[in-house]
């Protein structure tokens, strides 16, 4: 039996409570509050206690999907990335970089948000980048 507790941060609101993910033999089994954490001091709300449940949901997306004949179908990463890059390049060529918009996210990490806006600005060439903070 291999049991681990991995420190992390709850992603259910902006409070930022410290959590410990419980991992048993490589499977995520529970969420515990971090006792020493300056924000939540060993407490969690109902959402925090159940943070792991959405991660292990059988509704999670497991592969990229591409629309073919009006239906989303499973694809490989290479197919999904190359197809998307090709379409984006064509749209930029025909309509210019400002015909593309990127919505970064209040749910993903700082590193990922940084890359998302870098992608919009340096790769696409547009400042059309925003996220759902207002919503």
């Amino acid at each position: 039996m291999d049991y681990k507790m991995i420190p992390s941060v709850c992603s259910y609101c902006g409070t930022g409570c410290g959590v410990l993910f419980q991992v048993m033999d490589g499977k995520l089994t529970g969420t515990m509050p971090m006792k020493t954490h300056p924000v939540n001091e060993g407490k969690l709300c109902i959402k925090g206690w159940n943070l792991h449940e959405h991660v292990v949901s059988d509704k999670r997306l497991q592969t990229p999907l591409l629309k073919k004949d009006g239906q989303l179908q499973e694809a490989t990463w290479d197919q999904a990335i190359q197809t998307t890059a090709g379409k984006l390049k064509a749209i930029i060529k025909d309509h210019g970089p400002d015909s593309v918009g990127v919505l970064a996210s209040a749910k993903i990490t700082n590193e990922e948000n940084y890359l998302a806006q870098k992608f919009a600005r340096a790769v696409i060439g547009t400042n059309n980048v925003d996220h759902c903070a207002r919503l």
Binding site: I6, S8, V9, C10, S11, C13, G14, T15, G16, G18, F21, V23, M34, T36, V39, C45, I46, W49, N50, H54, V55, S57, K59, R60, L61, Q62, T63, P64, L65, L66, K67, Q82, T84, A85, K87, L88, S99, V100, G101, V102, L103, S105, A106, I108, T109, N110, E112, L115, A116, Q117, R121, A122, V123, G125, N128, D130, C132, A133, R134, L135
Partner: protein
């Protein structure tokens, strides 16, 4: 937040306006209760009788969208009684005289006519806030999601400065962020007008700095906000949309309008952990890793940047968002070959002055609060200590304006929207969680018993709600949380989506839609 979560419990007064804190930020509400135990006064202003109201020294239910009048009314009373902090105003602020002239017009009788708050209650609110120092002001989307969102926020700042509460421990103006990394997404430049750390794209020196760092010439025209993007889609100007970890079909203020916009796109790319209502419409869907399956950092509402650690491998073939963006970027001809999030974080610290002193090692388990300008700096617990970021604190003269839509003969009720305690945002995460789903399986509309009687509606009856935008059917929940004439719908549930009803009128500066106020009619379903 200008201040920190832990500081709340040492405030002498806490003023909560437009935040249902026990439902939406329970571990911040805990600090309010601890403050109460230590003797703090609690003032609550919310159009609904929220749970926190029961514990307040004074709680009022202002008419929806009347916050500027309420706050101006409090300040009128404070100035009239000489409870304001004249030394602080003299030393640390400017434009007080113009502001005071505007406030002179908000006598309690006028404010009562607009807000519905009895004059004696308003006087008590003003006295408690102004005479118990330090006083912490807490707000959330009840203040911001209005066509006057910016005015509301400025009025909160006026009140805090008037009583010398900005730049002091346990005081401040404290917006409670709704999503886990709203703060970080803004800090990282996920906005159309600024690079990371709010460095404007239109300033040549900034543009040059980032062009050099990224090895690419960069656009200096301010881009579209999300609100502008939807109009640009309708107008045929925006052809491709890349949506990362968001579900605009549920979160946009006017779902029917958004649907038309999505139809006009040549390419919709969605990157998410679930097949959301928006992703179902996409041409490409990228399967992303969840919070437990990757490394990185989140920055919370008190500016605390904290480390997230990978606990398990991603499900199936899912990849971290940073890996997907890197792959797409490389395929587009701009190589991104990061070894991992730590390398990206190091790059962030070189271009983001407020994060410059942070390293993964220094973040440890507790994180660090920005600004943290160098590797010796301990982080910043509260802002504006000796002076404001801009130098002197600026008073704004703000006049009250009605919401974009008020009830009339055809749509006689006020409708407001918000969260309930067990669910999160558009429900993508919380509705697949068995222990959260069981708390609330579907949407509902809160209606006052008197209104229910008039409509011959009993608890659980299905009712039709209609606004100028659209119509939904939803079960009625008879409740004293709302006043007569006011209805409340939570926005987590796709099958009776609040955003079919809400008004997409938005604040002219912040471009935030008026989710909190619109006019609606209600009838019992046949």
């Amino acid at each position: 937040m200008t201040n920190s979560i832990a500081e709340i419990e040492d405030a002498a007064c806490i003023f909560v306006i437009g935040s249902n804190t026990t439902a939406c930020h329970p571990l911040i509400a805990r600090r309010i209760f601890r403050a109460k135990e230590k003797g703090a006064k609690l003032v609550v202003a919310d159009p609904r009788h929220i749970q926190l109201s029961r514990f307040a020294d004074i709680a009022v239910t202002q008419r929806l969208g009347s916050d500027v009048a309420l706050l101006n009314g409090m300040m009128h009373i404070i100035i009239k009684n000489g409870w304001h902090d004249t030394a602080y105003i003299e030393e640390r602020t400017e434009e007080f005289d113009g502001f005071k002239t505007a406030i002179d017009n908000y006598a309690p009788d006028k404010v009562e006519a607009i807000t519905g708050i009895a004059q004696a209650d308003l006087e008590k609110m003003a006295e408690l806030y102004a005479t118990n120092s330090p006083a912490a002001l807490l707000y959330a989307m009840g203040i911001t999601q209005h066509t006057t969102g910016v005015d509301n926020v400025k009025s909160c700042c006026n009140l805090a400065m008037l009583c010398g509460n900005v730049g002091v421990r346990s005081g401040g103006v404290n917006p409670l962020r709704g999503q886990n990394n709203v703060q970080g997404a803004c800090d990282m430049g996920g906005l159309p007008n600024v690079f990371p750390a709010y460095q404007p794209v239109a300033v040549e020196a900034n543009n040059e700095k980032f062009a050099k760092a990224w090895g690419k010439e960069l656009p200096d025209q301010i881009g579209y906000t999300i609100t502008d993007m939807i109009q640009a889609m309708i107008d045929g100007k925006l052809k491709a949309l890349f949506v990362i970890g968001e579900n605009p079909k549920m979160s946009d203020p006017d779902q029917n309008h958004l649907e038309k916009a999505l139809e006009k796109l040549d390419l919709l790319i969605c990157q998410d952990i679930f097949l959301t209502e928006t992703a179902e419409r996409a041409d490409v869907v990228f399967a992303a890793a969840s919070v437990a399956e990757k490394d990185g950092t989140f920055t919370n509402t008190e500016r605390r940047c904290m480390k997230v650690n990978k606990a398990i491998d991603p499900v199936g073939d899912a990849l971290s968002d940073w890996e997907i963006i890197s792959k797409l970027s490389t395929a587009m001809g701009y190589e991104m070959n990061y070894e991992g999030p730590e390398e990206i974080f190091k790059e962030i610290t070189t271009v983001t002055p407020s994060y410059a002193g942070m390293t993964y090692e220094r973040l440890g388990l507790d994180g660090l609060q920005w600004p943290c300008p160098n590797t010796e700096h301990p982080g910043t617990q509260f802002l504006h200590k000796d002076q404001f970021t801009r130098g002197k604190g600026l008073f704004h003269a703000i006049e009250y304006l009605d919401p974009a839509e008020m009830p009339d003969d055809e749509y006689p009720y006020f409708l407001t929207t918000g969260r309930m305690f067990a669910h999160y945002h558009t429900g993508t995460m919380s509705r697949v969680s068995p222990h959260l789903d069981i708390e609330q399986k579907t949407g509902y509309v809160e209606i006052h018993p008197e209104d229910a009687d008039k409509l011959a509606v009993i608890d659980g009856d299905t009712v039709n709600l209609a606004t100028r935008r659209g119509e939904i059917q939803v079960p009625a929940r008879i409740s004293n949380l709302v006043k007569p004439g006011l209805l409340f719908v939570p926005f987590h549930f796709a099958e009776n989506a609040a955003n079919i009803l809400t008004n997409s009128a938005f604040d002219p500066i912040a471009k935030i839609p008026e989710y909190k106020v619109c006019a609606v009619k209600i009838e019992k379903a046949a």
